[in-house]
């Protein structure tokens, strides 16, 4: 048990910087997709007419925003994967390594 605690203390600092990095990126990214999608359902519920405004030919704002939500989800997924590979993974392996080292 004592060995476990020593190991954890060593890993704590590295873990905290990983969690901080995750929060820094994931909070704004989650707000973007939640506002984009739930916001669209709110408009659909309470301001139908707005979504009927024509954009190109018969394509209205509603369908255009639905299309935009697809693109936004895909873009966020790719951005997340990139950030996770470049920023989260190195921080995670540092936390994991210091966790394992003090255990050995």
């Amino acid at each position: 048990m004592a060995r476990d605690e020593a190991r954890l203390e060593a890993a704590q600092a590295a873990l905290q910087s990983l969690v901080a990095a995750k929060l820094r990126f994931l909070v704004p990214m989650s707000i973007i997709f939640m506002v984009g999608y739930i916001g669209l359902t709110v408009i659909a519920g309470f301001a139908k007419g707005l979504l009927g405004v024509k954009i190109v030919g018969s394509l209205n704002l509603g369908f255009a925003l639905i299309g935009l939500n697809y693109v936004l989800s895909w873009a966020l997924a790719l951005v997340y994967e990139r950030i996770a590979n470049k920023i989260f993974d190195p921080l995670a392996s540092r936390a994991a390594a210091s966790g394992r080292r003090s255990a050995a």
């Binding site: 476990d4 969690v19 979504l51 369908f63 394992r100």
Partner: protein
């Protein structure tokens, strides 16, 4: 219809071949529940697409769009956006902290029997609420597509899934999903190209034709979901409910690490997302080419829209091309249902065999070979139960169960999972409080709502997630506070959090 039977027989033979191959490679509990964690991200991504595109997605979204316009497009968009939640906060922590089930995560965090039982309850409730309408849908669809009776359709679907799951475990279930996903995406691509070729590859023409034929009103929201709060509730249910569906969670245990789990979500977002987007165009194309009257005449819920569109594109009723396309799409629809019910059966038998019998009843003291044997036997029992429930469900309004499955997932499983992963003060009392309040409020509100009671509803919303999900979170927090502080649990949280983020397990 004979074309459907021939094509489907080929798919069935392939699936049985896969099962035979998989059964020879399934020996340990880890093989059976999680394909030994050895799938690649791409394989898991295709299998997730197979899991997540039920018949409701394959046939339903197209039908809704063809009959109700924009609301159908909303139904199709939600399931893609939902994967943002899964990607950001669920997939990697689940892979890092669990072995086979939701129960594993809760058990390793709380280390109490009561919390494990709560996790089992949530898993079984969601899976059965999901399985029953799938079985009922399977009966109706197989009868419509092949002409055999509803009861025989149930028995046929049930026995096929029992064979896949009991013999081939996760490996067979996964490859059945992959084959189905490839067929589904292939069918979608063919239909899309053929439909676009009729409008000189300008998708805007679909909108113009639909407006000319049915008026601008058709392209507005609110034709299907009349209550504005239902629109929002549906969105919330999707975005948080997917993350609480046990048969989807289980898929993240089939890959070796968090990086592969992450990559498999990106795969499914592009594969399934592209298909969902295409269903909106299919719906509009079907409304234009086939017409709403013909769609309603075939099935008033619009579930045969996609097969009808395929028939039209192939050359129309009676032509060889038309019948071939109809048969192909119909066969893929049946394969879709089989793949989804198999995944649900596997997930349910995993929680009964692994969480309930091995860990709850026997305290983990079950030898590996015996656990596999028990899991196989459980799969047979769950399958037989599903057949019985499917036969009983004939003619019953099962729509409420579809809503219930996703609502319970969002209101009970999701709060409990997310708080277990990230909240230090969360404890067994919170697990029980969140699970109970989320489950009870979802069931009660769905039962007194319009889906069950029609115009005599005591409560206005078809989908109660907008109320039951906050209630579930409230129950979880209040339960934690009422239960008092569990210092041992809070002390272990540091080690647990390290595992959630890095997969380094406490000793």
């Amino acid at each position: 219809m004979s074309v459907t039977v021939v094509i489907f027989a080929v798919i069935l033979l392939i699936s049985l071949g896969i099962t035979y191959w998989a059964a020879r490679r399934t020996a340990t509990a880890s093989d059976f529940y999680a394909a030994d964690g050895r799938l690649t991200a791409a394989q898991n991504g295709f299998a997730l697409a197979g899991d997540w595109c039920s018949a409701a997605a394959f046939l339903g979204f197209t039908g809704l769009t063809s009959l109700y316009g924009m609301d159908g497009a909303f139904y199709a968009l939600g399931p893609l956006v939902a994967f943002c939640t899964v990607l950001f906060v669920i997939a990697e922590p689940l892979r890092n902290s669990g072995r086979y089930t939701l129960g594993d995560v809760i058990r390793s965090r709380m280390q109490t029997r009561a919390s494990l039982l709560a996790a089992i309850t949530g898993t079984v409730a969601v899976n059965f609420a999901y399985l029953m309408p799938q079985m009922a849908g399977a009966g109706v669809l197989v009868r419509l597509l092949t002409g055999i009776s509803y009861d025989w359709a149930e028995i046929f679907v049930g026995i096929s899934m029992i064979v896949y799951v009991a013999f081939g475990g996760m490996l067979a279930t996964t490859w059945v999903q992959i084959v189905k996903a490839v067929l589904m995406l292939g069918a979608g691509a063919i239909i899309l190209v053929m439909a676009l070729s009729l409008v000189h590859f300008n998708p805007l023409s679909f909108f113009a034709q639909a407006e000319a034929k049915y008026g601008a009103h058709f392209l507005l929201p609110g034709n299907y979901l009349k209550n504005p709060f239902d629109q929002i509730s549906l969105g919330l249910g999707y975005v948080l409910g997917l993350a609480g569906l046990p048969h989807v969670m289980t898929r993240f245990y089939t890959v070796p690490d968090a990086k592969a789990a992450r990559r498999s979500v990106v795969w499914v977002m592009f594969l399934a997302g592209a298909f969902f987007a295409a269903t909106t165009l299919f719906g509009l194309a079907a409304a234009n080419f086939v017409g709403q009257d013909a769609i309603r005449a075939a099935d008033k819920g619009g579930n045969l829209t996609l097969p009808l569109l395929a028939q039209y594109l192939g050359g129309g009723k009676g032509s060889f091309g038309g019948e071939l396309m109809l048969g192909f799409v119909a066969a893929v629809a049946v394969a879709t249902i089989l793949a989804v019910v198999s995944a649900l059966t596997l997930s349910t038998s995993s929680t009964i065999a692994h969480d309930f019998y091995v860990n709850w009843v026997k305290g983990g003291r079950v030898e590996g070979r015996r656990e596999v044997w028990i899991a196989r036997a459980t799969a047979v029992v769950i399958g037989l139960l599903a057949i019985a429930l499917g036969i009983l469900a004939q003619g019953v309004n099962v729509a409420v169960l579809v809503i219930l499955a996703i609502c319970v997932a969002a209101s009970a499983n999701f709060p409990v999972l997310i708080l277990s992963l990230f909240w230090r003060r969360f404890n067994t009392g919170g697990v029980i409080g969140g699970m109970t309040v989320g489950l009870v409020s979802s069931v009660v509100l769905a039962m007194i709502g319009p889906a069950m009671r029609g115009s005599e509803a005591l409560w206005p919303l078809v989908n109660p997630t907008i109320v039951s999900m906050p209630l579930g979170f409230l129950g979880a927090v209040v339960g934690s506070l009422l239960a008092g502080r569990d210092m041992g649990n809070e002390k272990r949280f540091d080690a647990f959090l390290l595992q959630v983020h890095t997969a380094v397990a406490p000793e």
